[in-house]
């Protein structure tokens, strides 16, 4: 992936993502089926907006026209030039930002969810998919690697299943993906919005600080020992119980 085009060129062309907020829900849509460097940049801009200026408590990431995301667009590559790893680094940094966002995130999947699209779905807090959707990690089949999906996937499905999914690269139906913990909820075709709305409602208030800290500690549980992490937990817990959300809970409890 080469570095993307300049900002002025970007605005002249159609955007690759859209960000639209209704009430407490920010809708981040991927407007093209494959991931270009331009999309990586525009996703970064959307995350700037979500991190810095958005009061939304939830983010729903979806595709359009029956495709969630079908992976990398090879148009950004030039076979005659030395390969550049920098674009992949940008992509990983982007996924970490989604993963750590202080908002509850839902991947609303309809249609192909392949390669980078599947990686993006993995960093969301919940994955909802229509029955016709298909999840596939086909990178190794194509001769490259599924990003840090190699690091994340086994945490969802177990090492054995992750090996099979990554090495064989076979498409997995939404129903099969749900059985192994790769998809959380399967919706009937055409009923995705209602299923996503039900998931959002289930999050309840999604207090930003508690949400962010809870996500962070869960992620760190994979990288740190219990002894290393408990200090972090205590620091995070002290911050959480010093927030208005917990004080409100105490008030409601008559304290």
């Amino acid at each position: 992936m080469a570095e993307g085009s300049k900002a002025e060129e970007r605005t002249a062309r159609a955007r690759t993502v859209s960000l639209h907020t209704e009430a407490e829900v920010a809708h981040l849509r991927l407007l093209r089926p494959t991931i270009t460097m331009r999309m990586v940049h525009e996703l970064g801009e959307a995350l700037d907006q979500l991190e810095d200026h958005s009061a939304a408590r939830f983010v729903v990431i979806s595709g359009v026209d029956g495709v969630f995301c079908a992976g990398i667009d090879f148009a950004d590559f030039r076979p005659d030039a030395p390969m550049d790893i920098h674009g992949f680094h940008k992509w990983e940094q982007l996924l970490v930002r989604v993963e750590k966002l202080g908002k509850a995130t839902v991947a609303a999947i309809d249609g192909p969810c392949r390669g980078g699209g599947a990686q993006l779905a993995l960093v969301c807090d919940v994955r909802v998919a229509t029955a016709r959707s298909v999840v596939q990690f086909d990178e190794i089949h194509l001769g490259f690697l599924p990003g840090m999906g190699t690091w994340r996937l086994a945490k969802y499905v177990g090492l054995g299943r992750a090996k099979r999914l990554l090495l064989q690269g076979a498409p997995v139906s939404a129903a099969a993906a749900e059985r192994i913990g790769l998809i959380d909820v399967v919706a009937e075709d055409g009923a995705l919005d209602a299923a996503v709305a039900a998931e959002l409602a289930a999050f309840g208030p999604a207090h930003p600080v508690a949400t962010e800290l809870g996500k962070r500690l869960l992620l760190e549980s994979y990288a740190e020992s219990f002894e290393e992490n408990i200090g972090g937990f205590l620091a995070a817990q002290h911050r959480a119980i010093s927030q208005s959300a917990f004080l409100d809970t105490l008030k409601k409890a008559g304290r």
């Binding site: 930002r97 620091a235 911050r239």
Partner: protein, 352 residues
Amino acid sequence: MSTPAARILAVGTATPPTRYTQAEVLERFRVANPAVRKLFLAPHVRSRHLYLPAADAEGRPTEDQAALLRKHRKGALALGGQAIHAALEPLGLRPADVDYLCCVSSTGFMLPGISAMYVKHLGFRTSMHRADVVGMGCNAGLNGLNPVAWWAASHPGRLALMVCAEVNSALYIYDDTMATGVVNSLFGDGCAAVLVGADVLPSAGPAPALVDFESHLIPDTWDAMHYEWRQDHGKFSFVLDRDVPYVLGLNADLPVGRLLGRHGLRRRDVRHWLIHSGGRKVIDAIKYTVGITEHDVRHTVGVLGELGNLGSGSFLFSYQRLLREGVVQTGDWGVMMTMGPGSTIETALLRF
């Protein structure tokens, strides 16, 4: 800060020659209290360089307050001299080339002050401007660096030096209680010197501009860290409240937010965090409040583990490690952060 910007041109550090593991200190003074032993053997501090006294027949250290004050003075001179040399020598400079000297110390009291002692013994000019920042605690390195940076910015072409000279083992009291155990297991001895100048000679390596400073005092927690005269021991004792980490943690994002906000920066724009090695709990509290990672605090944690909490100069040991890592790039933003009594949080914004 007005142009030309003051830059950090060099850093030097020094620690006492003898390194002790935590187990060695326990052994030397025959610490029996299991709770205190556990404190020492926690994994966050593994070793420290210390000026430790001999033990008497019962394993008690033999220093009275007069001996502790002498130790502070001698240590500040020996380690300060080494740190100053380490900062100046690579640039071909000598103490006589320095135009302004600021000395920071909280682990002993002397009069005349440390800066006067350095002039007498280390070859600084008798006409050099001086200031001593005394009794401000672990945060004081940035309280000293702030006026040093302003002095340098308003005297382009001239050299300012700040020395943080702490002999924390001059604060040790041995009574087998948790209160003194916390101090005795955490703090190490060490000095750090930084050379600062604006529009002056080229530095040997990265020379970040000191762009801005921001302070924060939490007067409600006045007693959280303080010196107390212990009549029973005839010594000063440093008292550290157990809630200190959390108090500091809850407030840490306030000065950071103001500092970055003034410059239109976000947390994610900061590539280098140089945070005081106050203790593992303080570091955790800062991590989860400011929203930074274990990677961001790697030098803070590394200094704590190998050298302990070195008081006011700790963050400069981290700064030195960052430079040695060789990852700094021109244009990078950095934040220095120190915490201490008051309770105080001091921050500085760096542009490499």
